[in-house]
């Protein structure tokens, strides 16, 4: 039965997350945007609260919620609204508050998503409940993650990692770093595995923290791995190099996390739209949904166009998460959601500044900050162009060698 409303059972979670966004994030938004690299200590207490929320079953608000098929038995044909959907909803609310602060939330890193997605029961036991960042990108390998040069060599009971990693979100603050490295660079994608590295491992050296356009509350770290030794058990997934399965294992995480980043974009877009509407209404411009867009002021027509894109982005995101909840393959929908939400978020945030003029551009309002924050959401976890590639390959039935 087609119904695209937010289920009632998630209302408490949504309003809780909204409260956090309003009461905790928004008041410190400006502060940590200005004081880049300062640790937002206000988040520590909050993180415990969210851990508690996650414990409460299928209403997770963070990265822990993306594990598939772990929600118990389902009837054939039964419709499930589970942790993927609730996580997306929670993230939308929190990023309506502040996306930089959400990214700084202890124990909610993308590394946590990777662990939640592919870790064995033993690994979950050992690494669960700790803050994990994700280290994929290298100076010479961004979107082309198959080109990474960091290597992992088995030496007895340990892997030895060597290489350089950049753009590690929460890399300085996290307790664990999930590092992507190749077991054998001659074997291409299939040899790329992820390894859990303790932040205090002496082989892991912090080079510097980046200064950024937006999400300045979140630290972005660059590392060198020099003879960094980790136990054999730190490898996530299978140690076999299965050239048939190719990249699938490592990439599996992304089918689950792309909707989460899309959700961040939806949250930022909504924040911009809501504030813009308030400012427009204050200026005497009312939005009338019943009247045709083009017989209203140009500002209204523009607003409606942006809001329509927002609605599409939001629904695509919920759809992708819902498919994951129902154990349906959602790689296509996840990329569609990420592509649409990423570009919509940027267009909306920048468009809202124009509608609000100096008020939108000035630092008294948060609109300019949201527009700076927005841009990363169309870049990390797969750029706009990478999402379009994934979508195109699926729609056209093409391999990555045919459509490069």
């Amino acid at each position: 039965m087609i119904n695209l409303e937010i289920p009632k059972k998630f209302q408490p979670l949504v309003s809780q997350a909204h409260q956090v966004a309003t009461e905790v994030f928004r008041p410190i938004s400006h502060k940590y945007d200005e004081e880049e690299h300062a640790y937002p200590k206000e988040l520590d207490m909050l993180a415990s609260l969210i851990d508690g929320m996650n414990e409460g079953g299928d209403s997770g608000a963070g990265a822990a919620g993306v594990r598939r098929g772990s929600d118990g038995k389902r009837e054939e044909g039964e419709n499930r609204n589970g942790s993927n959907l609730s996580t997306v909803l929670g993230i939308v609310e929190l990023c309506w508050g502040d996306v930089g602060l959400l990214l700084s939330m202890p124990r909610q890193g993308l590394g946590n998503s990777a662990i939640a997605s592919v870790a064995s029961e033993e690994q979950l036991e050992h690494y669960g409940g700790r803050w994990a960042a994700m280290a994929i990108t290298e100076p010479e390998a961004g979107s082309d993650s198959a080109a990474i040069r960091t290597t992992a060599e088995l030496d007895g009971e340990e892997y030895v990692l060597n290489g350089e990693k950049i753009f590690v979100t929460s890399g300085d603050r996290a307790e664990l770093i999930v590092v992507w490295a190749s077991l054998d660079r001659s074997k291409g994608r299939a040899a790329i595995k992820s390894f859990i590295v303790e932040r205090d491992n002496p082989g892991l050296k912090l080079d510097r923290l980046e200064h950024k356009l937006g999400i300045r509350a979140s630290d972005t770290a660059n590392f060198t791995l020099q003879d960094c030794r980790v136990p054999k058990e730190a490898l996530l997934g299978s140690p076999e190099i299965d050239t048939k399965q190719g990249f699938g294992g490592a990439m599996q995480t992304f089918d689950n996390t792309r909707p989460l980043v899309a959700a961040m974009a939806v949250g930022v877009a909504r924040a911009s739209l809501e504030r813009t509407r308030e400012l427009l209404e204050g200026a005497g411009v009312e939005i009338d949904y019943a009247a045709p867009a083009l017989s209203q002021p140009a500002a209204v027509a523009r607003f409606l166009e942006m809001e329509a894109d927002y609605e599409a982005a939001r629904l695509l995101t919920l759809h992708a998460a819902w498919m994951a909840d129902n154990n349906r393959p959602n790689s296509l929908q996840a990329s569609m959601a990420k592509a649409k939400a990423g570009r919509t978020c940027v267009n909306v945030a920048l468009g809202c500044i124009e509608l609000c003029g100096a008020a939108g551009y000035g630092e008294d309002e948060l609109l300019e900050k949201w527009a700076r924050d927005a841009k990363i959401l169309d870049i990390f976890e797969g750029t706009q162009q990478i999402q379009l590639l994934i979508v195109a390959r699926q729609l056209l039935g093409k391999s990555s060698s045919e459509l490069r």
């Binding site: 039965m1 087609i2 119904n3 695209l4 409303e5 937010i6 289920p7 009632k8 059972k9 419709n79 499930r80 609204n81 959907l85 949904y289 019943a290 009247a291 045709p292 867009a293 083009l294 017989s295 409606l304 166009e305 809001e307 329509a308 894109d309 609605e311 599409a312 982005a313 629904l315 695509l316 919920l318 759809h319 819902w322 929908q333 569609m336 592509a339 649409k340 162009q385 999402q387 379009l388 590639l389 979508v391 195109a392 390959r393 729609l395 056209l396 039935g397 093409k398 045919e402 459509l403 490069r404």
Partner: protein, 443 residues
């Protein structure tokens, strides 16, 4: 026909052209500021002949009037987020999908060229029962509860075959739905039985007017009171099969009441239609309805709800047009995929190029977004929730993205897309309608 034996029409066209040339060169027209009107009239006349009175329709008589009008119930609020249609909806969807592929798509090109949909094809659509979705069960309808979602699925599936034929076929259903939702007991008893019979009347829900920046809440068609009667004056645009219509439901600004709907049977004095051919929607043989002092009894106004009901009618129509835009956008996607995979340039399929492949991605992404927005609004309508905002957003999305998708569909085929050997040029023309049309279809 040989060169010397020119047909009468052709010869008189020759004479007309000479006159035309003289007129065109004369500054008289410009001085009286009548050039535009004269040119338009000449263009029409040469193309379509003259205005005609409305079709001689059947006589509608009330049978078995209920004590009060029957209404479909709102569905229960749903507990969970779900994008899967229920079993009954899937049944409709599959039946219409199959029909669209087997019967509609093959007939589309000819229907577009001839500006008419074959009567047999229209009869077959009626047999599917899709025009009764908005009619309460007590009055012969199929659905006990409100069926906006089902109507959306039907519109989408039929328009995947062809948007213009979908318009021609579903337009009578809009009138049945309007009377089902807002008609008085008398109107329901008078008109709805005919829609559940074998010979469904041709009918049109007329909101759109010819002026630019048309706003359905600010109508130029006026209904003034005269004793207990209403007298209507105005013009309505782009009605499907206007010349054949036996029944119209017309929106007019009613004196002291604001916009309202009126049921008008064809043949009423002062009612005339004229052809209004357009860029697309050609299988629907679009026409204009002209009302000059059309006198109606007080009971002709659709009964209940006043302004809110009228506003709901506007929203439901926007959703219906959005739904057909989704179906045709999907048709574009399904057509360009094999084309760009097979079309070779520079030694490989053009789909190996990102510029081409990304255009396909965007069609896919926006079509899915449009679909979900339409489903959401329709789902709210069926549950009795306000859906004004959701319908407006779906409409904006489908108007803008539908247009772009129509354009990209032609672009991806290049010059081949521009010629009528492929359907994409037709979809380019039809998809523009989603941003223009008001009324005419309903969910």
């Amino acid at each position: 026909m040989n060169r010397n034996g020119k047909g009468v029409a052709e010869r008189s066209m020759g004479i007309g052209l000479r006159t035309l040339n003289w007129l065109a060169g004369s500054s008289l027209l410009d001085r009286i500021k009548a050039r535009r009107q004269v040119e338009r009239a000449l263009f029409r006349t040469s193309k379509e002949g003259f205005r005609t009175a409305t079709a001689a329709g059947r006589t509608f008589k009330a049978v078995q009037k209920l004590a009060r009008p029957a209404r479909q119930a709102a569905g229960k609020p749903r507990a969970l987020f779900d994008v899967t249609p229920d079993e009954e909806q899937q049944m409709f969807q599959e039946a219409v999908r199959d029909f669209a592929a087997a019967e509609v798509r093959p007939a589309a090109q000819a229907a577009d060229a001839e500006r008419a949909t074959p009567a047999e094809l229209l009869a077959k659509v009626d047999e599917l029962g899709v025009n009764m979705l908005g009619v309460p069960e007590e009055l012969g309808g199929a659905m006990h509860e409100q069926a906006a979602v089902t109507s959306v699925l039907v519109g989408e599936a039929l328009a995947h075959g062809d948007l213009g034929i979908a318009y021609a076929a579903l337009a009578p259903g809009a009138v049945a739905t309007a009377i089902g939702h807002w008609g008085t007991a008398e109107q329901q008893a008078t008109y709805l039985p005919a829609f559940s019979g074998e010979d469904v009347p041709t009918a049109a829900l007329a909101l759109l007017e010819p002026q630019p920046l048309f706003d359905p809440l600010k109508l130029e068609t006026k209904a003034r009171r005269d004793g207990s009667d209403w007298v209507l004056d105005g013009a309505k645009s782009l009605l499907a099969r206007a010349a054949d219509c036996e029944l119209f439901v017309v929106a007019a600004e009613a004196e002291d009441l604001g916009p309202a709907l009126f049921a008008i049977e064809s043949g009423a004095a002062g009612l005339a239609t004229e052809p209004e051919p357009a860029m697309g929607l050609r299988p629907a043989a679009s026409g204009r309805l002209l009302l000059e002092g059309v006198r109606l009894p007080g009971g002709a106004m659709l009964g209940e709800g006043g302004r809110d009901a009228y506003s709901e009618c506007v929203q439901r129509a926007r959703l219906a047009w959005s739904a057909v835009a989704v179906g045709t956008s999907q048709a574009v996607l399904d057509y360009v995929i094999p084309y760009v995979n097979e079309r070779s340039a520079f030694g490989e399929p053009i789909s190996n190029r990102q510029a081409v492949a990304f255009a396909v991605s965007d069609i896919g992404i926006e079509t899915d977004g449009m679909r979900l927005a339409v489903y959401r609004a329709a789902g709210r309508a069926d549950q009795g929730k306000d859906f004004t905002r959701e319908a407006a957003l779906a409409r904006r999305l489908c108007a803008a993205k539908g247009m772009t998708i129509g354009s990209e569909g032609v672009q991806l085929l290049g010059g081949h897309g521009f010629v009528k050997e492929h359907p994409v040029e037709r979809w380019y023309r039809d998809l523009r309608a989603a941003g223009v049309m008001e009324g005419a279809l309903l969910v």
